[in-house]
Symmetry: C2
Subunit: 109 residues, 2 copies
DNA sequence: TTCACCTGCAAGAGAAAGCTAGCAGGTGCC
DNA sequence: GGCACCTGCTAGCTTTCTCTTGCAGGTGAA
């Protein structure tokens, strides 16, 4: 399930993974799905902070969210990891760098 | 030449790679070593800026620097890429997350 | 109703990253 | 000397990231 990424996608993915909290979130979800509040308790961080990191992980395509109703009718948002495999080498980075957007005047249209 | 990294090392490596300029530096050096000023011209960025990024890349262990004297006696700093292979999966991240430092009271000594 | 649980959002402060401008040193060649 | 090239450093601004605090909504159970 290897995906070919554009340079910008790869950069955003790496920036997203390069954070201790988000690494721990991936680690926690890799051993089983969970919902936001329980995950916050498990990781020992505040729920708003976790939601911020989950939003970034989801934006980078590293986790997915599913809304479900618990047995007693509570609306709960479950998160899962998205399987991915990215191999980083000088060559793979050189390849991705070819498709990087010019941060300045990108749109020529 | 795969290295096993601590969680902190991996995080710093990812943070270092997650930058368009630094990706381009890796790309440029992957096709051949070069010295600072020439590399700055090739990439179209200012020399001080490039030096900043090179320092970060070197700190993350992704490039190495070698001081050499050119034929006409100029002191020139040549940079090379360090071969590396890092495979990123939810599992590998979960493994690295186990060795993450607690950003707060890390030293118990 | 009150409590315990679930969710979402946003303002504001503090910390870190990114970049420029400008200074310093050196060499060799005309 | 003056110019062209090489290197190194840093003060200071701007932008981005990170995190807390505090508010809003909802449900079911005692």
């Amino acid at each position: 399930m290897e995906t070919s990424h554009s340079g910008d996608e790869l950069a955003r993915m790496l920036a997203t993974l390069a954070n201790p909290h988000r690494m721990r979130v991936i680690a926690a979800l890799a051993s089983g799905r969970n919902y936001v509040s329980a995950l916050a308790r498990e990781l020992g961080i505040s729920r708003p902070l976790l939601q911020l990191h989950l939003a970034r992980l989801e934006a980078a395509g590293l986790v997915t969210a599913t809304f479900e109703l618990s047995a007693d009718g509570k609306a709960m948002k479950f998160y899962d990891t998205v399987p991915f495999t990215v191999t980083l080498t000088p060559q793979s980075i050189a390849l991705a760098a070819r498709t990087l957007t010019l941060e300045d005047g990108e749109k020529t249209s």
